[in-house]
């Protein structure tokens, strides 16, 4: 993946230099291994900060909302799908964007990597093709990337960008063998009490920091329902009922829109796998409406239109 870095820099330099874009949004290397930082480059001479590696896990569509400049941006599969959603939902215009598409080979789960290092802090990270190397005080390990992919990357079916102005490499083969919903299926067979306790347990550590919501490109509402104060819909304490209300409502607001990019899960400071909420809705969208979010600009989003063939068994 690192091979994209040079191309990104080269094209960003040209785009900024020729005035085709005013700013360029990508990732730069963070101060902590495994933590890259979204960055906005304004001058051609600063493009060497840009980088692409297996730690580019934040969703950059999040940084496009209501911007007014001409923007260059890098986008792998899931990020490109969220860009599509942003365009369809009028958060940005297609002609404001110059998209450098990245056929994606997956990104890595930093928590799994740290686990492999006995949760000791790292001092260095480097990668080379299918392997990466981590270094800490008194240890160094080389690990296989495919064993450390994020769970959403493992089951991703759209690794190639769906929208772009240029593709920076040959398309990668899509992974159609895996079942993205095997975990949801397991849960679906459980009785209601089991489901309820599963989700109660899932969010028991939540501190209501809202990192999951804020990392999500779909959550761009000027005032989120949890922040409304006139009237106030949800209590602000860490009462489990309020916390559950937040999670369930947030998930429903993402129904038919979530691309399973995993940004929410990536950012949680207490490692809550809250994709279990949205994945069930993604599965329903797929099975009931044959819908996957953000694949094309040609069709209106799921909740924007009605087909007579739509699932309607719930209407009496």
């Amino acid at each position: 993946m690192i091979r994209y870095t040079e191309k990104i820099r080269e094209r960003a330099r040209e785009l900024l230099g020729q005035g085709k874009v005013d700013v360029f949004i990508g990732y730069k290397k963070g101060t902590v291994p495994l933590m890259n930082q979204p960055v906005m480059i304004k001058r051609a001479e600063d493009v060497d900060q840009l980088l692409w590696d297996s730690n580019c896990c934040l969703n950059l569509a999040n940084y496009l909302t209501k911007r007014t400049e001409k923007i260059g941006i890098v986008a792998n599969g899931c990020n490109s799908r969220n860009i599509v959603i942003h365009i369809l939902e009028n958060q940005i215009k297609r002609d404001q964007l110059y998209i450098l598409g990245i056929p994606c080979e997956g990104t890595i789960d930093h928590r799994a990597v740290l686990r492999a290092a006995d949760n000791q802090e790292l001092l260095g990270y480097s990668e080379d093709g299918k392997e990466f190397t981590i270094r800490g005080a008194g240890f160094e390990k080389t690990l296989k990337k495919e064993e450390f992919l994020r769970t959403n990357c493992k089951t991703c079916q759209h690794r190639n960008p769906v929208i772009y102005d240029e593709l920076l490499g040959d398309p990668v083969p899509e992974n159609t063998e895996v079942d993205p919903f095997s975990d949801v299926k397991g849960l679906e067979t459980q009785p209601p009490e089991k489901k309820w306790s599963f989700f109660q347990n899932l969010i028991s550590k939540c501190i209501r920091c809202y990192a999951c919501r804020n990392a999500c490109p779909l959550c761009y509402c000027p005032t989120c329902f949890v922040d409304e104060s006139k009237p106030q819909w949800v209590g602000k304490s860490i009462d489990p009922i309020d916390t559950m209300t937040f999670h369930i409502l947030r998930a429903y607001h993402c129904a038919g829109r979530c691309t399973d990019c995993g940004a929410c899960e990536r950012v949680c400071p207490v490692a809550i796998p809250m994709r279990q909420f949205t994945k069930k809705l993604n599965k329903d969208a797929k099975e009931l409406f044959d819908w996957e979010a953000g694949l094309t600009l040609e069709t209106r989003p799921l909740f924007d239109f009605y087909k007579t063939s739509d699932y309607n068994e719930f209407i009496y």
Binding site: T31, V32, M35, Y63, L123, Y210, K236, S237, P269, A271
Partner: protein, 344 residues
């Protein structure tokens, strides 16, 4: 303050277990991949083999949500609409294994919650009824900078006792009278010269591993408005998603919000942690928000920690260098870099 003692690790853990008779004891315990401070009840396994807890221990003194007052809401009930203080537990607490940065963090907060002008009664009572048994850091994390921000990996300020991990044993040093009284009751051999030397050298070795330092003078000398109007804030803030991670995990962030919650005929007045990174933090009743933009909120966090606090209390920065925000900010906004910018 009395002499240090040395106990075998399992002996010391037994002492801690027995202390549950007189205290509510809190210990670090591993849940999933990381550690939390939890009350030491049966079934909880204390684990002192940890770097630091994911959340700081601030919640032990200052819970994330706390019922302050309550009242009935129907006219025919006695005391309707008159808020009465809710019962709270101020019994003796013992926190074992707190890191020196976090113990120092409480002192930073104390300057704000316990001073001649303001006194937060609940914070103060709970703090005063708590005994802190610290654990020095033989291996400081690369993201920690307590040597620059607080007393270093074996800093004693804010602790009652300090433990050194000597391999099979702990050396336990009394720091305050409270700590000394507690240790006097513990059976164990007095620390010998050799052990004290070993402890000293562990401290030196650990300090040597920490490489971040800064000089606070520019933070004191630059005018508030000069720093406030610096052009770099927008760039610093670009990647920020305005979450509560940095402020909620931080041992020294103290801001709260007070909410009334009504259920049936009962009202609770609750104090919850709040965060200057949330837009709601400064939203006025009129709808006006003086910190409407993201960069203004990011600037507030750093200006508060690194300038307003410095000016107001004349006692360092509002940060103990625990490194949590550095490690867990999902978009890698690193306070060490911001210190560099502001001092530059």
């Amino acid at each position: 303050m009395g002499t240090s003692k040395v106990l075998k690790k399992d002996e010391w853990l037994k002492v801690i277990e027995d202390l549950r008779k007189g205290y509510k004891v809190f210990v670090p315990t591993k849940e999933g991949d990381f550690h939390f401070f939890r009350e030491y009840k049966d079934g909880i396994r204390p684990d002192l083999n940890f770097s630091n807890t994911r959340l700081s221990p601030k919640g032990l003194i200052y819970p994330q949500s706390e019922r302050m007052f309550e009242c009935p809401l129907s006219k025919d009930q006695e005391g309707a609409f008159i808020l009465k203080e809710s019962p709270k537990d101020f019994g003796p607490q013992l926190v074992v294994g707190i890191r020196p940065c976090d113990a120092y963090g409480f002192l930073i907060v104390k300057r704000n919650f316990d001073n001649p002008q303001y006194r937060d009664p609940w914070w103060v009572r709970r703090y005063e009824s708590t005994t802190f048994v610290g654990l020095g850091c033989n291996e400081p994390c690369p993201t920690c900078f307590c040597n620059a921000a607080a007393g270093g990996p074996f800093g004693e300020e804010g602790l009652d006792l300090l433990m050194w991990d000597l391999g099979d044993e702990y050396l336990i040093k009394p720091i305050t009278e409270k700590g000394s009284n507690l240790l006097a009751k513990v059976e164990g051999k007095e620390a010998q010269d050799g052990e004290i030397k070993e402890a000293e050298s562990l401290k030196k070795e650990s300090q040597k591993k920490m490489d971040f330092s800064f000089d606070i003078t520019p933070l004191k000398n630059k005018a508030q408005l000069e720093l406030f109007n610096e052009p770099y804030w927008e760039d610093v803030a670009f990647s920020c998603i305005n979450c509560g991670t940095c402020t909620y995990l931080c041992p020294t962030c103290w801001c709260f919000d007070i909410q009334d919650e009504v259920y049936k005929n009962h009202c609770d007045r609750i104090r919850n942690w709040d965060s200057c990174m949330f837009p709601l933090f400064t939203l006025h009743g009129s709808g006006h928000n003086p910190r409407e933009k993201k960069f203004q909120r990011v600037r507030q966090r750093f200006m508060h920690k690194l300038k307003y606090y410095v000016d107001k209390y004349g006692n360092g920065i509002q940060c103990s260098g625990c490194g949590r925000c550095v490690r867990y900010c999902p978009v890698n906004i690193d306070i060490r870099n911001v210190i560099g910018l502001m001092c530059g």
